[in-house]
């Protein structure tokens, strides 16, 4: 339940942030990336429980704090690139670690499928930033659902095969 709440609230927050279609200075960028992190954690654990929620929240705040520190020491903004990798890949690692994703192939398939779906969903939408957020959120959730079902079905089939 917490994960669903996390996903929807952070997705709506991201849409709100993206709605102005404006320029992102570090503070807003940090808040956006933190929101994206929560949305990704939410989508990965959408059908499960989010592990160590407090720690996830602390990581979210750390992202905002890091980006806010750019104003004090601008060259620190180079750390935005590894921070981006962290936001994208750490939820996937957590998913793998806690058994949401069965294996690396599962993650790879999820990436490819959600990218393909996002292109399809985005196609009729207005070509603005908030629509990209909508496409990303919906596609990642739908791809995750389809793959989980597929994997579960395959496991059942494999289980039935072993039993017979």
């Amino acid at each position: 339940m917490v994960s669903k709440l996390l996903f929807f609230s952070s997705t709506f927050f991201l849409i709100f942030l993206a709605f102005s279609n404006g320029v992102f200075y570090p503070l807003r960028a940090g808040v956006f990336l933190a929101g994206a992190y929560l949305a990704l954690v939410g989508v990965v654990f959408f059908f499960h429980e989010v592990p160590r929620l407090k720690r996830r929240m602390a990581e979210t705040l750390a992202v905002v704090a890091l980006f806010s520190a750019f104003y004090l020491f601008p060259p620190l903004s180079l750390s935005a690139i590894p921070a981006g990798f962290f936001v994208l890949f750490y939820p996937l690692y957590l998913g793998l670690k806690h058994g949401v994703f069965r294996d690396v192939v599962h993650i790879f398939l999820w990436l490819v499928l959600s990218m393909a779906l996002s292109a399809v969903i985005y196609w009729p939408l207005p070509k603005v930033f908030w629509a990209e957020v909508v496409a990303a959120a919906v596609s990642s959730l739908v791809a995750h659902y389809l793959l989980l079902k597929t994997y579960a079905q395959r496991r059942r089939q494999r289980g039935e095969g072993v039993a017979s």
Partner: protein, 676 residues
Amino acid sequence: MYVEDGPEVEGLHIYAWGGAEWRPVYVIYQPQHVDTHVVATGDWVSMPYYNMSRYVLRMPREVVAPRGPPALPPGFERWTLEVDNGTKKITITLAVGREPLKLNNFTIATWQTFGDKEIKTPNKGRLKTPPGRQPKNGAQGGEAGAASYAVSTGATIYPVGSLYFGAVAVAGTFFTYIPVDSPMNHRRICLLDDMHWVGFEVQNFTVGVEVGGYVTGGYLTLEFYNLDTCSFITSVSLPLPSSGRYWTNVQPSLPDAQIGVRVRVSGRAETASIRAYIAARYKKAVQDLAQTATSKAVSEQTLLISVSGRVKVAVFFGPYVAYDGAAATSAGVIYGYVYIPPSTTRLTWYGSYCPTLAVEYYVNGLYYTYRFVSPSTPSPVNYYCNYNVPSTALQIKAREYATSKATSRGGGIAVAVVYTTMGASTTISYGGRLEIVYDRWKEPFRSQYIDSGRGLPYAEWGSTLLSNTLQVLGPVNGTTTNIVTEVRAATNEIILSLQHNNPALCGAGWRFTGLQVGGYTLYYGNEVVEEPWWAAIGRRVADAVDWLMSVTRDRSPWWASLLLTIIQNIFATASGLVKIYTDSSATIIEWNRGWTTSTPPAVVIRILRTGGTDVRWDSFAVMYYSISECYRGVGYSVNTNMRLPPTVTGGASASERIWTWRGQISGLNTDLLVKP
């Protein structure tokens, strides 16, 4: 010597024989203080008003008993001043000329000033001028036809602009240059500091000085340079008044080249501060009406004033910004007019008959004209006398504009209507808006406003517009946001410029129809905006990731894509960002200040123009900085039908156009109408 009802002496240099040499005579105009209702603020203040025919001539004591003056200096007229101090009468010979006297390398200027207080002197003077001189001051103050003053193609006009200098603090024996006050940091030209860009086709100057403290043996020297060749042309040295605020007129002989000026002061002082305010006059040929613009300012719509117990009451409108370049005729009248709406005045009157109401009009504090208004009924009705003061239109004189600049008021145009109310309880109401309309030379420095060497419009003038706005409005409302933006279109490029005085402003957007554009260059002031090293590295890494993501297919709008967009944005916005959005109907160009920099007062975006034959500037918007972020702010309609011509024929003035929009976010709204 106090002179009342004297002839016009502004613009003249007056000398009296001091027994051994001709000595300068200073002119101090005498004020009349009137309780004034300031329409912009609603306050009542006592303001000085001047009639240029009332002045005190301040001359050295030696001239009172002269040992017969020699022949007049060449080019000077003989005026005589008959002085009566109540016990005896004497006659003093004066030498009066348009050009000041010169002694060795020094110009012996005679300075003029607006007195703060009335000077009491028993010496009453009467000036006798040669036959055929100009009429007495103030007598020519007629009313203008509202439609008759507009610049026409082929006309020669005389725009008035101003130069902006800061203050210099001096102590002991000093010899120093007065710094240039430039929001765009234009202070060093031809490798010389404190050089002020003046421009082309310069005619003459009205030089104002303000000496705080006391200076002895002081000189103010104007050094003129040819900026095309970076060579010195000439200098004019003027004896500096020891204290106070004065102005004078100088007419150096200058070539038609790009002129620059440095202002040097020297002398001795215990401690003092010196400022210079200089108005420059130009001579321009109007080849195309697009070289000029018509500015219009209007007052608030309704106005009702109640007052009692005052002999005279003034209603003060303005000051309105009249930008550099106000175009005057050769006769010294600005192309334009001030329309004063009709007013109704009611006096509470206990006499049997209603008196005639005297109404005087002042422009920039200087007497313009008067009228007597008869009451609606000869006798009071219920103890009220009513007067319908009709509307009137006045011409603005270049003299009033230039002296406003030379006395630190920046060329603002203010109008006051003075009612003689004789102490009665009075209400004054206006039925319409006051209007000030005038034609302005948009680029006050060159008949052809494109630099043929660079092929670009001259950028420097933009900072003078901003300086001008700040100087005029500063005393009224220092917190007012002022924005000036211009779009300059040439055949191959579009140049957007923005000047403003609000540090919270962090972005702006211009919307065009029918424009196709390519790459851009961003300047803050006249310097290209450089990318910090770390932003360049970060941008390249982010671009490499972007390439990897899109190497197999177009970037999908997915999480990785969103995160990358945001990260790229951080590096792109480090020092300043220009975004160009194009769709089938419009091209929007947006600028945002960098998050590592403070807001620059002047922004210039030079954009390559790739197409579009019928381009229109639709709108303009600004954004404001709040909580470390830049948010969309107010949008302004810039009045459409500003078409930017694509033509390449007909020479420079036909192939480039400049459109201007400016906004003042205050009670004093000024709109700019641009001629097609």
